[in-house]
Symmetry: C2
């Protein structure tokens, strides 16, 4: 079992992150925030897929003003992503935002920081400091040979953290996103030794669904297995619903969260005599969204089949044009390939 690093617990709307709270899954809308209808529709789709915290971009005052209306129509906490403007942040707070992602070092002079921190404290609104490799401060870049380094990213984070701490504000989460696995992992490892604020894990600009899924799985896997990470956001150049699906699968693969039914299935080989690829995909699709605590396996042959089936609650083991249905290691039925899916689903329903 993974031993998670114990971080400070913070509250975002009705969701906790850090401490003993489960690793929370978040995404970001790619709709125009000013378009309330489109944004709400996307958030509802994301909630359906398992999104627990949603972020929206707030690039102007009109977007900030739309927050209240959006919030009325959704039931998960909402984060405003703001750059350089204490004014948009103040408006987001007035509109009932649950968390701000804003870097206090670049919103203006000290009076603005004081104003913002005061408003956040009054409403218990946490701030995420979000460091991105692509937007490091010039002097930090110069210090590190004009390269984006894990050390430089942590230095930037500490600078923003200190501004908030100086103002007696500790309701903080931090992210340190580079666009590759190594710098991201090293940055989080370094920061995790320095502070106990909850960490929001992400690899930025990870790429399309294919590449981004792999980069995020590799990077998050390394960090989470080390116990680092309190909330995750998978970044994909794709429909954000895909981000949520990938995030869940990563957390499930590490035993950090549970959701739905996972299907163990074999890669098939020259020994396989029924169409396992088609069958496994169909089984996975039919189980999608079903909430049962049940382990399912779809195996091609008798080499590893029976062993895997023993660990599953219900399994298919393929033979020549037929399949065995196996329940907790016992063969309960031998079925023609054409009836296999239907018979198997009956057993699932019964379980």
């Amino acid at each position: 079992m993974i031993k998670r690093k114990k971080t400070r617990k913070i509250k975002i709307g009705n969701v906790f992150i850090g401490g003993d709270a489960p690793v929370a899954i978040q995404s970001m809308c790619n709709t125009d925030t000013r378009d309330v209808e489109a944004t709400v529709a996307q958030i509802k789709e994301l909630i359906q897929a398992g999104c627990e915290i949603i972020r929206v971009a707030v690039p102007d005052m009109e977007a900030a003003k739309a927050i209240g209306e959006i919030k009325k129509q959704i039931n998960i906490p909402m984060v405003a992503d703001i750059h350089f403007s204490a004014e948009y942040a103040m408006e987001a707070i007035r509109q009932g935002i649950d968390k701000l992602r804003i870097n206090p070092g670049n919103i203006g002079d000290e009076s603005k920081v004081v104003m913002l921190v005061k408003a956040c404290k009054e409403k218990n609104i946490p701030i995420r400091i979000g460091i991105n490799g692509g937007s490091l401060e010039k002097d930090i870049l110069e210090k590190y040979n004009n390269e984006v380094t894990p050390e430089g990213m942590v230095e930037s984070a500490m600078r923003h953290i200190k501004i908030l701490e100086k103002n007696d504000f500790f309701d903080i989460a931090i992210s340190l996103k580079a666009n590759d696995v190594e710098r991201t992992v090293e940055a989080y490892r370094l920061l995790s030794k320095e502070v106990d604020y909850p960490l929001h894990i992400g690899i930025t600009e990870a790429g399309t669904a294919f590449r981004g899924t792999i980069l995020s799985s590799v990077g998050f896997g390394i960090l989470l297995y080390d116990g680092i990470g309190d909330t995750i956001r998978v970044s994909l150049t794709a429909n954000p619903v895909e981000e949520i699906k990938v995030a869940w699968e990563i957390l499930k693969s590490l035993g950090l969260r549970k959701r739905g039914i996972s299907v163990t299935s074999c890669p098939t080989c020259g020994r396989t005599q029924i169409d396992i690829i088609k069958l496994a995909n169909k089984v996975e699709k039919m189980l999608d969204g079903m909430e049962k605590d049940i382990r399912v396996a779809v195996m091609g042959c008798v080499v590893n089949g029976p062993g895997e089936a023993r660990e599953a609650d219900l399994a298919i083991v393929g033979g020549k044009g037929v399949g065995l249905i196996v329940k907790k290691g016992e063969i309960i039925k031998k079925v023609d390939e054409k009836d296999l899916l239907e018979e198997f689903m009956k057993e699932i329903e019964k379980f």
Copy 2:
């Protein structure tokens, strides 16, 4: 940079694994090995995708006899996957196989092991001992409360290793595949402390392309980042070509191998004003198979865009209905959205 554990180097046909050799990528045919034409066609497709070692199932004598004919038509090393039969293994050796995957503890009495080891030694054919959670020995299962544990898997591996070592055979690779991340990672970590044979990394029965990609990326990521793993096989219930694509992307994400051009692209958000998802996917597709040492980024807006573009050799940064083409941090063109792809590809060609 990842510091890889230094393992013993072995040679499989013309490919080295272990030692300072790059992490090799392998897959397994799901054709009927007896069908030479279909098997060769699949192997050629896999080679095209980047497969470096190919394994085939040898469930009977006819399959073993087909190996010679298949080998004549391909140019990567071939591994025979054999269970319980020294006779099929002997035939595979006669047919010129480059490596055997066989567990010496279950091929019969000592005379058979002696015979097989002698034949392998004469032709410098390495043996992979392949432990699968689904087929652990009964007495080992019983010892561990009838559960598949990392300790039990390592114990099983050591048993087979000792049989070979007793026969003065050290041309060995080992795999320890469980169907989940945690047991797989812990088993490899344990074994890696015990032996210096090269390790073949895999998660067995990982599932369909979606789930299997994530499980493998998470598990391999943890191990490879630790320096463990000399060759990898991603198991997917899918066309094995997908296994190769995923394997390459995992190794590339960790800087362990280089191939083709990777596209950094942002997840898009409410700030994006051109269709970055479509654009990034098109760019990725057009670059597929192109071998240039060039870093490419496709970014939606000016918040992180310019920073990311600075790290890329060529980048697109989106604006309102237009895109900037940026070369090593300098804006070289401002182009209408409709001409962006074409203009960008021109710059790629020029590079």
